[in-house]
């Protein structure tokens, strides 16, 4: 089932909730190899986004909502993750265009554009121990699921699973971008906070899509 603006709004709300719930964990991860603000940064940003959701026009497209998320994150998060995640949503919004519904192809395009946006701004490569290490496996898995004929919910579930694995995979690595790169070998054994938060957000996407699909099937 193609996903509309209702899903995007649900996803954003679920993202805000999951970020708030994991705020302390993200702060702790960032304390270990960064500066201890990642959970606080995203919580501040997503809380601001949620506060703006009520103002959304009834006929807003998914792209318009994603753009609102982008500009709000950019203007409230700060730090490295603000511009990076903000750009992800901004480029995702661009890929969504004026469509009122996002099918599996569109979702893959949105995720790919989002990932490309992060790479464009942050210049990180896979294996640098950044959020890219959640996004790139997610994009690849989403595309594979789509190619295999998966539903929208299945595409997002594949993305979430891969992002989760990608975030976990960062643990043994040395970092080559972001603050953790200052630590050299001392970053080994710690999960990248940005990869972790991206995986949480993508899991929220999959969960809300699954819930919508279930509701539609029942209804």
């Amino acid at each position: 089932m193609a996903l509309g603006t209702g899903w995007v709004v649900d996803w954003v709300r679920a993202s805000a909730e999951v970020v708030k719930e994991h705020r302390t964990e993200l702060v702790r991860l960032d304390r270990e190899i960064g500066d201890g603000d990642h959970g606080e940064n995203l919580d501040r940003g997503f809380s601001a986004v949620v506060a703006k959701l009520d103002g959304i026009e009834a006929d807003a497209t998914p792209g318009a909502v994603l753009k609102l998320v982008a500009t709000t994150l950019i203007s409230t998060v700060g730090g490295a993750s603000g511009p990076l995640l903000g750009t992800a949503y901004l480029k995702g919004a661009g890929a969504a265009g004026a469509a009122t519904e996002l099918d599996a192809d569109a979702l893959v395009a949105v995720l790919t554009a989002a990932r490309d946006g992060v790479v464009l701004r942050g210049k990180a490569e896979s294996g640098d121990k950044t959020m890219v290490d959640a996004w790139t496996p997610a994009v690849d898995a989403a595309a594979a699921a789509r190619d295999a004929g998966g539903s929208e919910a299945e595409v997002l579930a594949a993305a979430a699973d891969a992002a989760e694995a990608g975030a976990a995979a960062t643990e043994p690595w040395v970092a080559r971008k972001g603050r953790a790169s200052y630590l050299g070998e001392r970053a080994i054994g710690h999960r990248d906070p940005g990869a972790q938060s991206s995986s949480l957000i993508l899991r929220a996407a999959a969960d809300t899509a699954a819930a919508q699909t279930a509701a539609a099937t029942e209804g």
Partner: protein, 333 residues
């Protein structure tokens, strides 16, 4: 967590209100978005200087706003780069028609947010140049890092570029001076204790009573190595060696020696460190012609310090000596 605060989330707003109340006449504080500007900004025909970054490094940057130094400072959340909006607003507020220089410490977040603000300002026809400060020799500038960090050397860049702007240099010339200072200053720091970020409520790293961190940044990031506690002189030597090798500094050089406290170190200890650093430089034939000692680029209540050495020439010396009138650095006026 024991802090003299009301609410962890209100720290920056309340501190900025305090800065405004304490330095009326020198500064004005704008809110929504928040930035600190010279009371007399913009200065017609003068290049505007804007810096900023996470809060918790006070007096950096707000304490350096005033005649002969910054035109505006943009404070982010504690240890978090400000977003583009207030940077843009500050840039617009201090543009006197001669363009605006952004002085940015080299952290991914600061660079990206200032970049966005600069793009937006250009779109509004304000000429913006940016200088990235990356003086910390603890971090190698390589493909395998986000590059060197900007630390205490930032104050020297801000002071000297500010003097150049004040004497009427063009945007290109002020940017060139700032680049020159950044090219000639090297810094390295250490910590005895970790800072406590208010919203985190716990020390940024755990460290034993007999250990110290060498090569730390100013955001509570752990350092490059952790070693057993050493006497002050040994620590100074450990920081100075890589600084001196890096430029490299040589016998006959004239330098500014800057011993910077991280916020929780008593001045008496900074002077003990200064004594040793001056002694070592002298021993190598490097002449200390200008000095700065104190808490200028801090990391909340962290105990520790950094050493910065800036190679001087006549022009930089003259600009350093030029009048400055800010909350935290003041002479000649």
């Amino acid at each position: 967590m024991k802090k003299l605060i009301n609410d962890p989330r209100a720290v920056v707003d309340e501190a900025v209100a305090g800065i405004a109340a304490a330095h009326k006449g020198l500064l004005v504080v704008q809110t929504d978005p928040t930035f600190i500007a010279r009371a007399d900004a913009p200065t017609k025909g003068k290049v505007g200087l804007v810096s900023g970054g996470g809060s918790g490094h006070e007096p950096l940057h707000g304490g350096f706003v005033g005649y002969g130094m910054l035109d505006a400072a943009v404070p982010g959340a504690v240890f978090t780069s400000p977003t583009p909006d207030p940077i843009l607003a500050a840039t617009k507020a201090v543009d006197g028609g001669a363009g605006v220089l952004h002085i940015v410490k080299n952290y991914t977040g600061d660079v990206l947010n200032f970049e966005t603000a600069a793009d937006l300002a250009s779109a509004e026809d304000i000429e913006v140049r940016s200088v990235i400060v990356d003086d910390d020799v603890a971090v190698k500038d390589s493909l395998y890092t986000a590059g060197r960090r900007g630390v205490a050397g930032t104050v020297l860049v801000e002071k000297i570029a500010g003097a150049a702007a004040e004497r009427g240099d063009s945007l290109d010339a002020v940017a060139a001076i700032a680049e020159k200072v950044n090219g000639q200053v090297r810094s390295m720091g250490m910590a005895l204790t970790a800072p406590i970020v208010p919203h985190a409520g716990e020390p940024s790293f755990d460290i034993a009573e007999d250990e110290i961190e060498i090569g730390i940044g100013i955001h509570g990031e752990p350092g490059r190595v952790r070693i057993p506690l050493e006497p002050a002189d040994a620590i100074v030597d450990r920081l100075l060696d890589p600084i001196l090798e890096d430029l490299p500094f040589q016998s006959g050089d004239k330098v500014l020696l800057f011993v910077n406290g991280m916020g929780g170190t008593p001045l008496v200890e900074l002077y003990i460190a200064f004594r040793r650093a001056a002694e070592v430089l002298e021993g190598k034939g490097i002449e200390v012609t200008r000095t700065l000692v104190g808490n200028y680029v801090t990391s909340l209540e962290m105990q520790g310090f950094s050493i910065s050495v800036l190679k001087l020439d006549d022009e930089l010396t003259e600009l350093w000596d030029a009048p400055v009138q800010t909350a935290a650095l003041r002479w000649g006026r």
